[in-house]
Amino acid sequence: MNKINRRNFFKKAAAIASVAAVSTQNADSASTNILSDERMGVLVDTTVCIGCRHCEWACKEAHNIPAGQLDDYHDRSVFKKFRRPDETALTVVNEFENQKNKLSPIFVKAQCNHCDHPACVSACIVGAFSKFENGSVVWDGSKCIGCRYCMVACPFQVPTFEYNKAIEPRIMKCDFCIERTKQGMLPACVEICPMEVMTYGPRNEIIQLAKERISLYPNRYENYIYGEKEVGGTSWVYIGNKKMWEFGMPKLKLSPAPGVSESIQHGIFAYFVPPIALYSLLGGIMWLTKKRSDLEEE
């Protein structure tokens, strides 16, 4: 309802401004942003991960990124450097020191957390990002213009860009394996994980599971579910023996990331009243001053 109204107003505004008529008939131009109660989620239990990086391999295989041999992923020297997901790896595992037991380092997998209120969906100039009913936040290459505003907006710094492509550079990010889940399969990383570090299920059950585990093993876990409330909640949530910002994740506010900018945006353009009011005001001033100067001339 809102959207339609605003669009109509936009049309009128365009007419007023006498812009050359532009077709606005594209039916699927608006992006989807559904926050379903049945959305799926993943619980990442960082106390279980052994850093085998099979998820990295499976992810690449599932997304047609050159992956190489699975056995090569057992190489632990990559952990010397802190890595982030990039255009060649949509998920990466990093190693962190475990203060409680130096022999068992902590491994933390990073990928898109699939926010409940995604900043990228809100920010994208052409609505190339959508949040679907199953919780996934997915990029649509047929719309994207490559402005990289999503990268500016994302609180987790997740979307990445193929800087070295001159034609059709893509925004690369975890898409919650939407193509696989559509066919009833699990996300590739969830499926391959030998330890089932990631538990896939409805998000409310996932949160419940996290709470159960924490209360069952209070010595094993820090009583904090990262992503339960961060930036309004994310589909992927983390538990561990410490709070996640000890493991390189950003400490974030609990309010949704797009909240402030959207309310400002909607304030400035509320049903186009402020712009039209300004237009009329200026018109009035113009008319008055014109009259005055005409009088002076006479």
Partner: protein, 410 residues
């Protein structure tokens, strides 16, 4: 300003300065070609943590802000009907038109899929600040072109003279121009107002852009009133920018500076700067972010430069009679405001932005700087070409040509 009329300048195009500009532009174009052949990564230092660099901060954000002279003078001259300022309207309009063209060009080269730049026209996301900016800039650019049409018609009506075989169209084209002139003169007021409204909208939306970055932006700059600050600073920089370029132009084209007009424009600046400054300081006090000034780092230093050098000092200068009466001091004061807004935009889009996983800070590459400098050089060259072709700059009625140019600033 009796006796002054806008006329095409009859000057030599090439001077040593112009040749340097040409070289800079050529250098920029070479890197630009590389960007289109090998991708953005081959030219820029942008990475997965710093997606926006100086192409956005300078070419786009600063470009938009400094082209604000167009809408502030339009508001003053057309909306408020202050005929007095008409001499600066045309140069300001040209600056805005060229400025926004280059903003669009800046966006065009910065986005990865430049060939989809038209997508926002049909794919709408009203939640996106960038979408509002994009749409407004597109419409405003169109408005600016329409506003410029009367200058074209004035120049060419009765003088259409196409070479060779095309001369058969001369009459038709002439008629078309006359028709255009007639219609436009009746409806032009719509565009004047639309131009001001659109500018207000996108100047502020440009500020909304970085709000969604949330905690990724340093608290000295991250505030919910960013849109207001952007709008106020754009309004404040409008007149100084007009003064700045008018003084450069008159120096470059060997003309008498239009001091009476500039002085009056300059006297308006302190109020605008003061409003901007009070909101900026008030916001800082309310949010208590002055604590960040106690620690000496790039953020606090850049913030102080932006405020002291870019706002406080010129504010004081514009209040002084002596400054307003001296072309040199007026030029210095205007330059400071322009510099202040430039630093402000750079701060907002680059300095203040610190992504959670940045391993190394972003510093623009030689290629990036080359392209930015090259585009600015191109802009100045086009400006020079335009004032030679079209009646933009007002010169004394009886002289058709200013003295020969020997020592241009450019």
């Amino acid at each position: 300003m009796e006796g002054l009329l806008p006329k095409p300048l009859k000057i030599k195009f090439f001077t040593p300065g112009v040749i340097i500009l040409c070289l800079l532009a050529l250098n920029g174009l070479i890197f630009l070609a590389m960007r289109f052949i090998f991708g953005i990564g081959s030219v820029t230092n942008l990475n997965q943590q710093y997606p926006w660099g100086i192409w956005i901060a300078i070419d786009v954000a600063t470009g938009v802000a400094l082209a604000a002279g167009g809408f502030t003078t339009a508001a003053l001259s057309h909306v408020m009907n202050r005929e007095y300022y008409h001499v600066v309207v045309r140069p300001a309009l040209l600056t805005a038109m060229l400025g926004y063209t280059f903003v669009a060009l800046g966006v065009f080269i910065d986005i990865g899929r430049w060939y989809y730049i038209w997508h926002p026209l049909i794919m709408w996301n009203p939640n996106s600040a960038l979408f509002e900016v994009g749409i407004c800039v597109m419409i405003y650019l169109t408005v600016l072109y329409i506003e410029f049409i009367p200058i074209v018609t004035e120049r060419f009506i009765g003088r259409v003279n196409l070479p060779g075989i095309l001369s058969i169209f001369n009459k038709v084209l002439d008629k078309l121009l006359r028709l255009l002139d007639k219609t436009l003169s009746k409806v032009m007021f719509i565009f004047f107002i639309a131009g001001v409204v659109l500018s207000t909208l996108h100047q502020s939306s440009l500020g909304t852009l970085m709000i969604i970055a949330g905690s990724k932006m340093h608290p000295l700059w991250q505030t919910p009133i960013l849109p207001l600050l952007f709008l106020l600073s754009a309004i404040a920089v409008g007149f100084p920018m007009v003064i700045f370029e008018s003084l450069i132009a008159s120096r470059s084209f060997k003309l008498e500076p239009e001091m009476p007009v500039l002085r009056r424009l300059g006297s308006l600046v302190p109020l605008l700067l003061f409003i901007y400054l009070s909101f900026k300081i008030g916001d800082m006090v309310i949010r208590g972010t002055y604590v960040y000034l106690a620690e000496i780092n790039i953020h606090s230093v850049m913030f102080m430069i932006e405020i002291i050098l870019g706002v406080v000092i010129p504010l004081r200068m514009f209040m002084s009679r002596a400054v307003l009466n001296s072309p040199l001091w007026l030029f210095i004061a205007s330059t400071l405001v322009v510099f202040g807004v430039f630093i402000n935009r750079l701060n907002n889009f680059v300095i203040a932005y610190h992504p959670p996983y940045s391993v190394s800070p972003y510093f623009p590459s030689f290629g990036e700087i080359s392209v930015t400098v090259g585009l600015i050089a191109l802009l100045v060259l086009l400006y020079r070409a335009f004032v030679m072709i079209f009646p933009i700059i007002s010169i004394p009625e009886n002289s058709s040509s200013p003295g020969t140019l020997t020592n241009p600033i450019h």
